[in-house]
Amino acid sequence: AQTVTQSQPEMSVQEAETVTLSCTYDTSESDYYLFWYKQPPSRQMILVIRQEAYKQQNATENRFSVNFQKAAKSFSLKISDSQLGDAAMYFCAYRSVFGGGGADGLTFGKGTHLIIQP
């Protein structure tokens, strides 16, 4: 079974600064998808960014980018120019390509609580 580890329960960053959230995972599969989700307080979980394991190029979405190191099984999220609206729980998640006919759910890490200091 796959596991996802987020070793930082909480991170704090000054507004406009850059912060990196770490995520490692364990799998024996060669192909899979990795996701970062954001869950603001009392609001729904939304997708931040997605990475396909067979793609070497790191995914980017505006101020959000990832550092995907497949050999190290590491998938960190970098948030540039942090904004107050970025404050949320951030979850790293893994999804198998081969299981469940494409319907396998995500395996989540425990999350990192990101605080933005004004």
Binding site: P9, Y33, R43, Q44, M45, F98, G102, G105, K110, G111
Partner: protein
């Protein structure tokens, strides 16, 4: 806007009293999931439906059941809630392809008294 809607937002039930949580979607997605999220823990997959096919996770207690009467609706039934079942319950949908992200509802926070 297409979305995933969970009702109610907050649910209080008594110990042992059956409770049903509901989820609806306008995305026309094949797959609907139920996750349990306890405080400071990762969301845990309980089960999912791929169209009408039900897939239960191996460690999901028998106390938890689900129904999907049609594409749009999915229900989570807790037959005899215990204090340990108090949690946020998240419904999510996806297209049923590995690269399709999950779309989540706002969740239902269940309190057991």
């Amino acid at each position: 806007d297409a979305m995933v809607i969970q009702n109610p937002r907050y649910q209080v039930t008594q110990f042992g009293k059956p409770v049903t949580l509901s989820c609806s979607q306008t995305l026309n997605h094949n797959v609907m999931y139920w996750y349990q999220q306890k405080s400071s823990q990762a969301p845990k997959l309980l089960f999912h439906y791929y169209d009408k096919d039900f897939n239960n996770e191996a460690d999901t207690p028998d106390n938890f059941q689900s129904r999907r009467p049609n594409t749009s609706f999915c229900f989570l039934d807790i037959r005899s809630p215990g204090l340990g079942d108090a949690a946020m319950y998240l419904c999510a949908t996806s297209r049923g392809r590995s690269n399709s992200p999950l779309h989540f509802g706002n969740g239902t926070r269940l309190t057991v008294t």
